[in-house]
Symmetry: C2
Subunit: 254 residues, 2 copies
Amino acid sequence: MDMSERCSIIGFGRFGRLLAKILREEFPVLVYDVRPDTRIARQLGVRCVGFEEACHARNVFLCTPISALESVLKRARPHLRPGTLVMDTCSVKIYPAEVMQRELPETVEALATHPLFGPDSAKNGLRGLRIVFCPLRIDNARLLFWRDFWQRRGVIVLEKTPDEHDRLAAYSQGITHFVGRVLGELHLRPGDISTRGFEDILGVIEQTNHDTWQLFHDLQHYNPYTAQMRDDLVRAFNRIMAKLYPKEGTEESR
Amino acid sequence: MDMSERCSIIGFGRFGRLLAKILREEFPVLVYDVRPDTRIARQLGVRCVGFEEACHARNVFLCTPISALESVLKRARPHLRPGTLVMDTCSVKIYPAEVMQRELPETVEALATHPLFGPDSAKNGLRGLRIVFCPLRIDNARLLFWRDFWQRRGVIVLEKTPDEHDRLAAYSQGITHFVGRVLGELHLRPGDISTRGFEDILGVIEQTNHDTWQLFHDLQHYNPYTAQMRDDLVRAFNRIMAKLYPKEGTEESR
C-alpha cells in the first residue's frame, strides 16, 4: 500500500465518523481520537492509530472541536511531513485559517473547509449538499483533486474567503442554532392546534438541538460576526415590543 | 329564497373573503364591511348589504379584527333576531367568548370558533386543515350541523374550552408569530451557504409576515397567555447567554 495515499482523521466524533465512511471509498483511512471507539472503527473498516501515525498520512483531516484546534495543531506540528495537506472541517473559518497559517510548517499545505452537512442531513446521501473551501496554501492540482472528490459525490463546492464565510454563516447557520437553542429551552410540543409555521419552528429546534453543545458554543464564540447577530436579534425583539406596546410601562393584559 | 337559511359575514377582509367562498357553496351569502369591495363580492357571487340587513341573517359570522369585536357586537345587539347564531372567527378565544356571552341577547345562540387556516394555507383546498370550536350557548342539532359542514370539506373539528385554546395557542401560533416578526426585522436572505434549519427559519418568517400587523397585534394583546410566553422567551434567551458566557461581562470575541 502506498503511504502517500493515506488519509487520516483526527477527531473521531459524529462528523469524523461520517467523513471516514466517505473517504474509505477511495483511500485507506486512519483515525485518531483521545478515546477512540474501536468497535465503530472496525465496523467502518478504518484503523485506529496513535497521534503520530495519524500525522504521517499524506492528507490529514481535522475533525476536533474548534476550541481544540490550536492545541492539536501545536501537537501535530513536529510530526507533519513536507507535502502533507491539512484540512480542517470547522463550522467557522476565520479562526481556523489564522491558526493553521500560523502553526503549520511552511512545507505543509493547508485547505480550510466547512462541510455544510452532518450525519443527519447526509442520511439520504450527499447529493445536493454543500461544502465551502477557503484555499490557504495549496497546490492548484491538489485543490482541483479535492474539489473533484466532492463533486463526484454530488456535493456542491463553494469557494469563499474566511471572512465572507463567517459573515454569511453568522446570519444563517449561526442565527438558526441560536434561535433553535433558545426555543429548545421552552419544551414546545406538537399539538392538535399546530399550524404550518409552528411546524417550521419545531423543525428548527430539532435540527439544532441534536448537535453537541460544544459545536453550538464554538459557533457562537469563534465566529466574530455572531456577537453582532445576537445584538441584532435583541434590537429586533425590542423594536417589536415597542411597536406592540408603544407607551413604555403600559403593557395591557388584553 | 328562505330567509332562515342565509349566512352573513361581517368584515370582508382576507379571511372574510375566504369564508364567503366556502359558505356560498351551500348558502346565500350576505357581506358587510365599512369599506366593502363590491367588485370582489360580485366575483364571488355574494351580495354587499347594510349592517342591519347583515344582522338579520340566520347565521352571522364575525370576521372583524379582534379589537373591533366588542363595538361590533354592541352595534349588532338591537338588530339580531331570536334564534340567530353568531359565530366569531378570532385567533384568540377567551376574550371573544367573554364578550359574546356578555353582549348577545339570551335569545341569540353563540359559537366561538378559530379556523386554524387562512387564504395562504387554504390555497390548495381545505382537506386536513383544522378549526377549533368553543360551544358557548348553542342547540345541539345546530352544533352538529356546523361540525358536519366543516367535516364534509375535510376540515378537522376540535372542541376546546376557550382557556385550553388560548394556553395552547400562545405556545404554538403565538410564539411562531412573535419569533417570525422578530426575525423578519433582520432581512435575512437565502444564500448559497444556507442549511436546512435556516430554510425552516425563512419559512417561519414568510408564514407570519404576510398576515396583517393588526392580526399579530391582536394575537399578542388579547391572548392572556402570550405575556407569559414572551417572558419565557426572554428567560430562555438569558439562560442560553449565561450558559455561553458563564462569567458576566467577560464575553470573549472568540
